[in-house]
């Protein structure tokens, strides 16, 4: 799967995107896995109330199922307009 990061999530993790292979599961499980990868990830995902998720460019909740071909994006609540 491809992971994308935007705004301060991107800055905390220190990259725009990355490829990753994880067992199929839901978004919450992916976040738990990412938090185990190091302090940058742990910091970015410390407060999940401040994190929003899109799978294949649709807003989803933390319980959304994800698979190996999905594009998963993490970002703060949006502030456009």
């Amino acid at each position: 799967m491809i992971l994308l990061y935007f705004a301060w999530v991107r800055q905390k993790i220190g990259k725009n995107e990355e490829q990753m292979t994880v067992p199929a599961g839901d978004v919450a499980a992916l976040i738990a896995h990412l938090k185990s990868l190091g302090p940058h990830y742990a910091d970015a995902f410390a407060d999940l109330s401040r994190i929003r998720v899109a799978v294949n460019q649709h807003h989803v909740g933390l319980d959304a199922k994800i698979g190996p071909d999905d594009e998963i994006a993490f970002f703060p609540p949006v502030t456009g307009g």
Binding site: F6, A7, Q57, H59, A73, F75, V78, T79, G80, G81
Partner: protein, 153 residues
């Protein structure tokens, strides 16, 4: 329904956009909204980041929803990205209809949903300090007005 959705760094010409929507005489009413960078103490630059492709896709979904709710003849959404100065325009939503109340309602609906759904993020530069603008809870409340399941719409 004519639909135009553009994400761009350049400014836009509101007069041209509205003429393109309604200059053919098919719709009698165009409601437009432009959002501008407000002048604030120390604010030097507002920089907009977005999620390419999802932005356009999400806005297209919102426009489709607006077209389902109201009888519209055209919608144009232009959203700028990159660095902007105080006074500059950020966004245009223009909605054409044969009925002015439909045009107003759909324009306001689109702005409320754009603020809560379209993947844009604003970073403010004040002097040497940079920080990300926080999402406003009031924007969520505004969007909920349109959701019949909340009972307040």
């Amino acid at each position: 329904m004519k639909i135009g959705i553009r994400i761009q760094r350049e400014d836009f010409d509101l007069n041209k956009e509205v003429t393109a929507l309604a200059g053919d005489g098919e719709s009698g009413a165009v409601a437009s909204f432009t959002g501008h960078v407000r002048k604030e103490k120390d604010l030097s630059t507002l920089t907009l980041e977005h999620y390419p492709h999802m932005t356009e896709a999400e806005i297209a979904r919102l426009v489709t929803e607006a077209g389902n709710r109201w009888p519209l003849t055209g919608v144009t959404v232009v959203h700028r990205v990159g660095p902007l100065k105080p006074g500059e325009r950020i966004v245009l939503v223009a909605v054409a209809s044969q009925h002015r109340h439909a045009a107003f309602a759909a324009c306001e609906f689109l702005m409320d949903y754009l603020k809560t759904h379209a993947p844009f993020w604003k970073e403010e530069a004040r002097g040497s300090d940079h920080h990300w603008v926080e999402h406003r809870a009031g924007d969520d409340e505004a969007a909920k007005r349109w959701d019949p399941s909340t009972g307040s719409g």
